[in-house]
């Protein structure tokens, strides 16, 4: 038996799902459906901004590493109360160096270490390769 939750989950992750449907699914009561919307590459920035205030940290973590969010929102999420959200940005290769430098000074040692690793891996190596 296919449940409505299963259907919504698959539609939420499908890049062909229309924006108006993603907008509705972003309000779904099931966390995994909202997380899949936050992971969908076609979810528009306005919906992602709304999901950035989601009570579930997995949803917010997915927003934090979505390529479509603004630099300002990512910087705001780099200061999020949840370690999980901050850690997801710390390991995100497309995060700007300025945001990673915020996380290098994070209270949590795992977040600090991960941000340093990401800077070394994606920024220092890239910089050195250009010399």
């Amino acid at each position: 038996m296919t449940t409505v939750e299963d259907i919504d989950y698959l539609l939420a992750g499908n890049p062909n799902t229309p924006l108006k449907v993603l907008d509705r699914l972003a309000l779904d009561k099931h966390q995994r459906v909202r997380r899949h919307v936050a992971e969908n590459i076609n979810t528009p920035p306005a919906v992602l901004s709304r999901l950035a205030r989601d009570p579930d940290v997995e949803v917010v973590s997915a927003v934090a590493v979505h390529p479509a969010i603004s630099r300002e929102l990512r910087a705001e999420l780099a200061l999020h109360d949840s370690v999980e959200v901050r850690y997801s940005i710390a390991e995100y290769p497309l995060a700007r160096a300025s945001i990673l430098f915020i996380l290098v000074e994070d209270d949590n040692p795992y977040v600090r270490d991960r941000a340093l690793q990401t800077i070394r891996k994606y920024w220092v190596q890239d910089f050195c390769s250009r010399l």
């Binding site: 259907i7 062909n16 229309p18 449907v21």
Partner: protein, 136 residues
């Protein structure tokens, strides 16, 4: 519980499969109207006629086989996603194909959902109702 009215376009070249799907749709208990096309070309013609004739409603959902003569399921998807008036029509792909590449290609070309043949009333019923609800 009152069931949703759903206008369905079934695109299926196999008479036996089409009959089975019709019976399954009846088993769902959903109030529906069903139009059938035997291949992608006929389905595209039907949809374009719906667009031109204002009194004819575009189907709520297309249930699409992949392997068909003339215009196959992949070509059909490619065509309707290029037409602004049809690009958001939900398409459920229904196929016996075990080939993941077939499904991946359909996803790339714009399919919204995938069911393996033969679909059960318990799988296609809730799906049709949910798609109509979300797309409305």
């Amino acid at each position: 519980m009152e069931k949703t009215d759903v206008d369905i376009l079934l695109v299926e070249d196999s008479v036996a499969d089409a009959r089975l799907i019709k019976e399954t749709l009846l088993d769902t208990g959903i109030n529906h109207s069903l139009n059938c096309s035997v291949d992608g070309e006929e389905a595209l013609t039907y949809l374009r006629q719906c667009l031109m004739a204002n009194e004819t409603k575009i189907p709520d959902v297309v249930v699409l086989d992949l392997n068909m003569p003339k215009v196959n399921g992949h070509q059909f998807l490619e065509q309707i996603r290029k037409e602004p008036a049809l690009e958001s029509v939900p398409v459920i792909v229904l196929t016996v194909s075990q080939d993941e590449e077939d499904v991946a290609k359909a996803l790339h070309l714009g399919m919204n959902y995938y069911l393996r043949k033969p679909p059960s009333a318990a799988s296609i019923g809730p799906l049709l109702e949910r798609i109509v609800d979300l797309w409305s």
